[in-house]
Amino acid sequence: MADFSTCQVFELPNLIQIKTDLIRANKECSRRKLLNSAKWAAELSSAVDASVDYQQILLLQEPKDYYDEYDKFALASSYFDLKEYDRAVYFLQECSSSNNYFLYLYGRYLADEKRKVDNASDSIGPPDHLENEHLKTLKIELSKKYIMKELDGFCLYLYGIVLKKLDLLKEALEMLVEAVNYEPLHWGAWLELAVLIPDKETLLSLSLPNHWMKNLFLGHMYLELQLNEEALKIYQGLVDGGFSKSTYIVSQMAVVYHNMREIDMSVTAFAELQELDPYRLENMDTYSNLLYIKEMRADLAHLAHRCCDIDKYRVETCCVIEKPLLFIKIKTSKAVMYFQRALKLNPHYLSAWTLMGHEFMELKNTSAALQAYRQAIEVNRRDYRAWYGLGQTYEILKMYHYCLYYYRQAQQLRPNDSRMVVALGESYEKLERLQEAKKCFRKAHSIGDVEGMAIIKLAKLHERLSEETHAAAAYTEYVNEANRQGIFNPEDLSQAYKYLANFNFAQGQLDEAYAAAQKCTEFQETREEAKVIQYRTLEWMTVVGL
């Protein structure tokens, strides 16, 4: 694509350089208790095959002030590991080294988050009143330091997340861009940044560092933006560049295939992933979804049991367990229970919110469903399923304008998914805005209709508007398609034939009319009418003299 010229894949530096970078990143992050980033860096580093002089790395100079306050650091970091954040913060007060200062702020942030999660009520939905006093205090402190330019890359990252939590998304975006420029090896900052980028225009307008990490970020970003081909290209490039053993890259590729509906490729990739890292739980929910679609029940059950054995209380596990439940049709309320558990464990886990919304829809609990979907959008605005779910819910509530809005959002996120477009068309139809509805159905048909509903709906619309030729054309298209694929709804098909018979009869194309009527007789509902048409056609034929 032409407009991605600025985001092209970068030349990777040699593997030794990469590995050294990763080891350093792991050290830096784990010293700051940024555990997930540290884990990510270690995973990637262990997958890179390069001989690195460890002596050299381990002798890397620690900053001088790090040892000045080593006692406090050691104490605080043990408290941190035991999740006693407030205690750690207390002992880190008035520390001056950048590492300790970051820990001090991060501890305050985590303590507040932990309190919030612990105090949250069991019911879903946003808390009754926003209690963000701590975050605001943190924000004020950070903003003062920021003005004085005393924040390092990690503190900037923290400032970014605080701003994001306070809904100041524009400012948060700026801060995180700055953070990745300072500290390009900190994967967490890239991830947070990714959540804040709504579209590719924004992505292109950012000034990101020309670091090899940018490749990984772009891959992640394209995947998030559903630009699957681009993502695949980048990941392929990385695999070729020496990351072929990385579980992260493999799983990302699997997700790309999943999004591209290349189900078999995806399943293979996931299977490979399980070989590489049998105890990995990340992305297993996607895998379970694939197995579900492919109806590989035994595998699904196996996966569910395994996940359960590995860690029962992981959000991914909760989502994996839920899939077999769908098969055996256990009451969905039990599934909801699992989701609630998942969300209690991690309120920012996107899929759980969306899936819970679906479950509530099943249970006909629309207000709860709305809540769940809204939360999902709060977590990630790019989740088209949640937007679509919101649309469906409002459709049930008969609020078609809202419903239109949400379907439109979903459709913008997935421009090539016919389901959204059909849903849009149906909403327009309900609002009696038939011209728009027709446009939608046409569009849906043109981008490859998954459910095969668009064309028949279009035909019916034309019929309703008595645009006979159009209607006939659409019906013909439908019939042809149905015959080619062999899947159809008998009622629709019979209607189509009946219309075509009548139409052709009126047009004087008696042969076609006869053939269509002949088809009609195969269906119970239209048989009698069809016979009448046939009879009249034959009559006319004789009159005309054929």
Partner: protein
């Protein structure tokens, strides 16, 4: 105070007519007084009077010990029997003080006033000229101070102000007079300035102390009339750890609305000095601002246990109840605070607030009126009265009070803000904009950094005003700034949404109304707006991004296969479907 003055006198006295070592005994009495053994002092002072055969000085000290043991009437009687209250200024002061202690204001005043008629010349002759001047001067300011206190107790505030001012001019070191003037809000900011300028610092202080005294006093002056920064002159850097200076710094933060910073400092001060009387009211206020109920509860309990006779203890209790929205007990305790000290302004204001929060406007106003009479130099009660009038839809009166407040504190952004609100309500948007901008400017001149949260309404109101003036871009800008200083405020979100509606950007508007409703679900404005905007948006929006999809115009060729085979396919597929259903009992429709 008086002791030092008299000491000089004693050195001039004649040797006693008896052979006891009276100077030694006198010394002993003073030592006892220093050590607070008042009863011993009293016993020996009494004996010295007899031994020295009624020396004036000894009588004075005897009266002093009586005063210290709380026998006010006895002391006064002693001095007056000997007519000393008419001849000796120190004794006159002491006698009046005794009556003052007993709350016999008129009596005390009478004693002080008697001198005025007396012929001073007569007395002057009996003393060495220069020495008398010195003594006179030293006692004069004490007398003026006492007179001021008496006047104030008698509710004659104007005279009291005059007396205090006089006392301060006579002795610039007389902090008490200064403190009473400032702490009881007797002067407006302008008058305070004038007073500072008129102090004869250069004639009374040594060269190097002028700056010190000026700084310390100016540091105490009114702080709430306008936001300002606090700076310690370099030459006085040595004072930076003085509690008083630190408390003043935190007070500055408080009035600049930087409550968190203020809280940090006051907590630190109270840790070192748990019952710092100057810091306590400030700490209480900041606890209320930050809604720290638990801390306030504990503090109030401790204070009431330790100092049940101090108004600040009951003020703390009252504030606690005010904070947890129980106005009934709040009023009771605030009332108690005001009875302990009638001129305790903060308690009166809080008393007013307790009514205001219950929407009892008349009673609130009555309390504020009392406060405004007690604190002549303070514009806050008047501002609150204006607010109450505004709430009762009496814009005219409200405006009058606001302008009155403005005349006392012309630079207070709060008052300017309220003026702006009134102008806005009167639909005089240009004036409103002017007021708001002026207030904003005042706020911004403080602090090199970001605005504090407290000013979120100001920025939002500016936004509303600009919107009314159809300056949408500017309005958006102000709302954005409000959002930055106080994030996640639903009304800001809906205001931004409304702006976008007026700018015709319905897409963004929908987004912001959603955000507003996400935080506060029962917001009728946002709900109605959202529904309307949504309809408008959907009617104007194209169903697809690209609309060049060909229409089906001409019916294509119908591909009709052989009848029989088709039927078979149909049956087959049906069969297949049903079989799979039977085996696996899955409803595939649920998959999505």
């Amino acid at each position: 105070m008086a002791g030092d003055e008299v000491k000089i006198e004693t050195s001039e006295k004649q040797p006693p007519p008896c052979n006891y070592n009276l100077p030694k005994l006198r010394e002993r009495v003073k030592q006892y007084i220093d050590k607070h053994h008042y009863d011993s002092a009293l016993f020996w002072a009494d004996k010295i009077v007899s031994l020295s055969n009624g020396n004036v000085d000894d009588i004075y000290w005897y009266a002093q010990t009586l005063y210290l043991t709380g026998q006010y009437h006895r002391a006064s009687r002693l001095l007056r029997n000997k007519k000393l209250d008419k001849t000796n200024t120190s004794c006159r002061h002491l006698a009046a003080l005794c009556h003052y202690e007993c709350k016999e204001w008129q009596e005390a005043l009478n004693i002080l006033d008697l001198v005025e008629n007396n012929n001073m010349r007569q007395l002057t002759q009996s003393f060495n000229e220069s020495h008398f001047d010195l003594v006179m001067k030293e006692t004069e300011h004490s007398i003026n101070l006492l007179r001021g206190k008496i006047y104030e107790a008698m509710d004659n505030r104007n005279l009291a102000v005059e007396c205090y001012r006089e006392a301060l001019r006579q002795d610039v070191y007389c902090f008490e007079a200064f403190d009473l003037l400032v702490n009881h809000h007797m002067l407006t900011a302008q008058e305070e300035r004038e007073l500072m300028d008129s102090l004869p610092l250069s004639s009374q202080c040594p060269e190097d102390e002028i700056e010190l005294v000026r700084f310390l006093y100016e540091n105490r002056l009114k702080k709430y009339n306008k936001p300002k920064d606090f700076k310690l002159p370099d030459s006085l850097n040595i004072l930076k750890d003085n509690m008083d200076v630190i408390v003043n710094l935190s007070e500055r933060h408080y009035y600049n609305c930087d409550f968190r910073e203020c809280f940090k400092i006051t907590s630190m001060v109270l840790q070192k000095d748990p019952y710092n009387s100057q810091c306590l009211p400030l700490h209480i206020a900041v606890l209320v601002e930050l809604k720290k109920t638990k801390e306030l509860f504990y503090l109030a309990h401790k204070l009431v246990d330790l100092y049940p006779n101090k108004p600040v203890s009951w003020f703390a209790v009252g504030c606690y109840y005010l904070l947890i929205e129980k106005s009934e007990p709040a009023r009771r305790y605030l009332c108690k605070a005001t009875t302990l000290d009638r001129v305790y302004g903060p308690a009166w204001l809080a008393f007013g607030h307790s009514f205001a929060s219950d929407n009892e406007h008349d009673q609130a106003m009555a309390a504020y009126f009392t406060a405004s009479q007690l604190m002549k130099g303070c514009h806050l009660p008047i501002l609150y009265i204006g607010l109450e009038y505004g709430l009762t839809n009496n814009a005219k009166l409200a405006e009058r009070f606001f302008s009155q407040a403005l005349s006392i504190a012309p630079e207070d952004p709060f008052v300017l803000h309220e003026m702006g609100v009134i102008a806005f309500q009167n639909q005089d948007y240009l004036a409103a904009e002017r007021y708001f901008k002026e207030a904003l400017q005042k706020v911004q001149c403080v602090g090199e950094q970001v605005l504090v949260e407290k000013w979120e309404p100001l920025l939002n109101n500016l936004g509303h005003t600009c919107r009314k003036l159809q300056k949408y871009e500017e309005s958006l800008e102000y709302h954005r700034r409000a959002q930055i200083i106080s994030p996640q405020c639903p009304s800001t979100f809906s205001a931004i949404g409304y702006c976008y509606v007026l700018m015709g950007n319905n897409m963004m508007a929908v987004d912001y109304f959603h955000k507003a409703l996400g935080i506060r679900r029962d917001d009728t404005f946002s709900t109605t707006m959202l529904t309307n905007v949504m309809e408008a948006l959907m009617s104007e929006m194209a169903p697809n991004d690209d609309d060049d999809i060909p229409e089906f115009t001409i019916p294509g060729k119908l591909e009709i296969s052989q009848t029989g085979s088709e039927k078979e396919i149909l049956e087959e597929s049906e069969l297949a479907d049903s079989s799979s259903m039977a085996i696996e009992e899955v409803d595939m429709d649920n998959s999505d």
